[in-house]
Symmetry: C2
Subunit: 456 residues, 2 copies
């Protein structure tokens, strides 16, 4: 059976596949920081060349931001689009890494070998699982089993500003029968999962301004308004004592969890205490009366992701600063409207300001939540293929993260998506010491080989 | 009359005095930042050499932190100690300066020439007014009019950790009949003032810790506690809606303003709207029901001087950070006990913490408020000398800033202090573009020459 030869080649070629990934990880393609603009281009170019090395015609496509990479393999059977992103998160605080985040290596971890470096799991390692499956398939069979389009983005970690215009402009070229997206994880690091619910994401930066210059808190402290103090009051008011978000209209469009889904999720026997315990916590901190899985998969949030104001260096400075800023994000579910919530948030902030203070806002992305069409026959076939590879029944799971691409594929290209990934809970994506288990990388490739086999 | 020759020499030598000050300002003696340790030593050495150049025996005296400079001039008549500090504040945000803060120059300002650079007003320019007065006096008369001890500190901007031990160890050497302290300003930039009330200062840094690593807000947002959110709630709770500080026992020891003082302050016709308008504000923001002058001179405050947590760089990062921190300071009046308030603040923070969060505290200085003994005959004599130089009746004023040295001189050395300075409200001390008017510098020297004359 020819699938076996593809799988065998993936086993044999694993060391070379690892080296290719390490090479890719050495490029510091941090999309949110303009200082790394050229590195993002280099990462895109790396992908073009890698696809080219296996005979796939791919090119770097300009956008107002970082480039897209698009590749095409003609063929019969269904047309599949594969999506991943080559950009990565910033790396600070750098001193918490055990190595230079862009000098990756295979390390021996407590549960087997792992690949350490920024992007190892999110998303370079993940997207390469599909690329490696295609490489092995091509090497064994001379071609891929169906028509495949590759789409790699370079702005996923910075709100994807160029994505929607690009999809619109290239709708015909990119519309396929089904999209495969590899940017998610296993359920509890053990069970393969197809994500069927994704939270949306809305990002806002708010800058509170008061005095027109930094002041001395001895000379002005008392009569002069302190923007940090105003900011803390504004932010503290975003939740009530039960963890409920207070922004007016915030819960409009949040659906009740269906009994069916609640039962299915209960059946997963999620280890909430283990999940929290893994990061040094012991109490679910969200809304009172919800299970942890509900909170992550089906409830919206409001989080402060960054705050800065005044003097935060070594020592002390009795400054009364002229401004203070925070980055706030909202995870959205159901039919919550990110644009309405952005306006409601801004109105809330403005209404909370005392005299002499103004607020300035900077938008950072807005995407609605999305739910997958699990009735599509590919879902059940893929579930079986995944179960076979991992020796465990694959789950239809929710996901707390926001992968707006699935919603855009549906609304702009009329295309359903399957989100499958092999990350583990302890991969520390977005954190220092990000890693990807060699097991995830290896079984990930094998999973895609199996999925390509059942889908065609 | 020989005072006239001293004053005339100060007029003639002004250009050289300015050059000496510029030279002194070029040394980046930022005491709070360990990176500038050697520069602090250089600034101390500069003073030793400058005093030496006019025949005053001075030396650099070691402390566990930055060195003290002590100089002695023997003589008859009263023994006067002069105090100033050679360290300066940090300079960030650097991009708001019109020049390199340590490449000072004389610029033409809207109301005459000014000396621009970090430390120009606080306190290098001010301390040099006294040194220049002594230089002219020595040049004209061959000696100073009385016994004078010079004491220059290098840690005033970073909580003076070495000061109290140094005063205790050298109490005999440093005890004089009266201390002169030059680190304050004119009243409303026009009227010479002797400061008779100083607020105390208590500094605390608090670090709220939650998860044991930075998390991804998609994966953990909801059930995982966010330390920034906890910090904003803790800080927002420090004041009630009337601007009253809520820390239990905070107001213990705050005296009522005497009717006498209230009337005297009313007589100063303080232009509160002009004071606020100069920094882009129009509403007194402190406690409801207090005048701006009361708020600055006689009321305590609680201010957040710095806050940091999560990702605050360019772009957006959906991080749920493992910790968040703030620097908080309290200005104290009357008999408020800084140590009791530190404990009460810490208890308040600890009591506000949700499960899974801890707080770590770092103390940054603690000094009580102090009130001067205006009955000392030197006060009235000095007031006359100042009034003569400036052509306006000098005021007995309060001061919002905290100059703990006056309290230490009283409690440790039994010595009364007169605080006299020539800074103006728009000097932007602790801010970008700090400056000192040449008028302040020049009339400051002349003021000290007159004061030395009347005190001896």
């Amino acid at each position: 059976m020819s699938l076996d030869t593809v799988l065998a080649r993936l086993d044999t070629d694993l060391p070379e596949a690892q080296n290719r990934l390490l090479d890719f990880l050495r490029i510091p393609s941090i999309s949110t920081d303009p200082a790394y603009k050229e590195d993002c281009v280099r990462a895109a170019q790396w992908l073009v060349e890698d696809l080219g090395s296996m005979g796939i015609e791919a090119s770097l496509r300009k956008t107002p931001g970082h480039p897209m990479v698009v590749g095409h393999v003609p063929g019969d059977g269904p047309h599949i689009l594969f999506y991943g992103h080559y950009d990565v998160q910033p790396v600070d605080p750098l001193d918490l890494w055990n190595r230079d985040p862009f000098d990756p290596a295979v390390e021996e971890g407590p549960s087997g070998p792992l690949i350490r470096g920024r992007g190892a799991a999110d998303d370079k390692g993940q997207l390469m699982t599909f690329v490696e499956a295609c490489r092995a398939w091509t090497a064994e069979r001379g071609t891929l089993p169906c028509r495949i389009t590759f789409l790699f983005e370079g702005e996923e970690e910075s709100g994807s500003p160029s994505l929607v215009p690009f999809l619109k402009e290239n709708a015909e070229e990119l519309s396929a029968d089904l999209a495969l997206i590899c940017d998610t994880g296993l359920f509890e690091s053990k069970t393969p999962a197809i994500i069927t619910m994704l939270r949306g994401l809305l990002g806002e930066e708010v800058v509170i301004k008061g005095p027109d210059k930094d002041l001395h808190s001895g000379m002005y402290g008392g009569p002069a308004i302190n923007p940090i103090r105003v900011l803390t009051r504004v932010l503290a008011g975003l939740h009530d004592d039960n963890g409920h978000v207070t922004v007016p209209g915030f819960y409009d469009g949040v659906p009740d969890l269906s009994e069916d889904l609640r039962l299915q999720w209960e059946g997963l026997n999620f280890d909430a205490m283990g999940f929290l315990g893994g990061v040094g916590l012991s109490h679910p901190a969200g809304e009172v009366g919800r299970t942890a899985l509900e909170m992550i998969w089906s409830q919206p949030t409001c989080e402060i992701n960054g705050i800065a104001g005044g003097y935060a260096g070594a020592g002390f400075k009795t400054v009364l600063p002229s401004e203070a800023r925070a980055k706030v994000s909202f995870r959205l579910v159901g039919d919550q409207d990110p644009h309405a919530i952005r306006e409601a948030f801004r109105s809330y902030v403005r209404a909370s300001l005392p005299p002499d203070c103004t607020a300035e806002f900077h938008p950072h992305g807005a995407s609605q939540a999305s739910e997958m069409a699990t009735t599509h026959p590919a879902f059940e076939a893929t579930r079986k293929a995944l179960s076979e590879e991992w020796g465990r029944e694959a789950a239809f799971a929710g996901c707390g993260g926001s992968i707006p691409i699935a919603g855009h594929f549906k609304s702009l290209l009329g295309m359903d998506s399957m989100l499958i990934g092999f990350g583990k809970d302890d991969d520390q994506i977005h954190s220092p010491n990000e890693k990807y288990d060699v097991e995830s990388f290896h079984k990930g490739m094998r999973s895609w080989a199996r999925i390509l086999d059942v889908l065609t």
